[in-house]
């Protein structure tokens, strides 16, 4: 690759980055399906598990705040937290001053469910990282995750 090719229709990105983009696309799809498969038979779906995990890490939050954090529409998040509430895994409390808002928090049952989720759903990833990669490779993956997260969260 010495000269630029001004007439190339798909140009703009150098081929190794285009290849990386294609790999990332494939990887994302496969991870999504593995995560979904791993979370089956657990009583909670993938997106429900994501909410449980987030509530545990960042504390109680409103539906809208959860939607922003996971980058889904508030209506989508509403369906997810609604299902969790029906199963008694989260509970809603009124906001102290703003009566429009409802604050969702984990119940004890939700916390127990989360323990199970972590073991089975995120567990295989953590295990694979630990068993299949040496320390340098683990460090590479960990740094790359932060870099990619930065890209994914950039602007819209």
């Amino acid at each position: 690759m010495i000269h630029e090719q001004p007439q190339s229709p798909a140009a703009a990105a150098p081929p190794e980055l285009a290849e990386a983009a294609a790999k990332l696309r494939v990887l994302t799809g496969q991870l999504m399906r593995r995560l979904r498969a791993a979370s089956e038979g657990e009583g909670v779906t993938l997106s429900q598990a994501a909410v449980l995990s987030r509530l545990d890490r960042h504390g109680p939050a409103t539906t809208v705040a959860l939607a922003r954090a996971e980058r889904v529409r508030p209506q989508s998040m509403g369906a997810t937290v609604g299902a969790l509430e029906e199963e008694g895994l989260v509970q809603r409390s009124p906001h102290p001053t703003d009566r429009r808002q409802a604050i969702m928090s984990l119940t004890d049952k939700g916390r127990r469910q989360l323990t199970e989720v972590r073991r089975t759903r995120e567990g295989w990833i953590a295990q694979a990282l630990g068993e299949r990669l040496d320390e340098r490779e683990q460090a590479v993956v960990i740094e790359a995750l932060d870099l990619l997260a930065r890209l994914a969260e950039d602007e819209a």
Copy 2:
């Protein structure tokens, strides 16, 4: 209970790997939604675009082979290639010796569509990688993608 692991109930994985697993889960979901959003209004859906891309890179293939490669069920892949065929983006030819099989290949229209797909769908990733990361960081991401792909493809 388990006396081999006296401490944490969710143990087994060191905390930094558990954290990496959680980050990977969040990243995967966000990338999936971004990819889907980027492929809207293109005439092909995300999984259809994946098939076009694969046919271009690896040549003609049967439904079952495509399903294995993308790690979906043959029935699911059947629906995807069926839609592509209806739009004239792929065509099916009989297998020379096995009349059960049908070999799918890109049409000229499919190839043109793919060019468009690459520009818009994988384009934003390639562009972000090029613009937001320096060369060392790009190398880290590229290596990590290969490592993660290895993990994702390991055993079932």
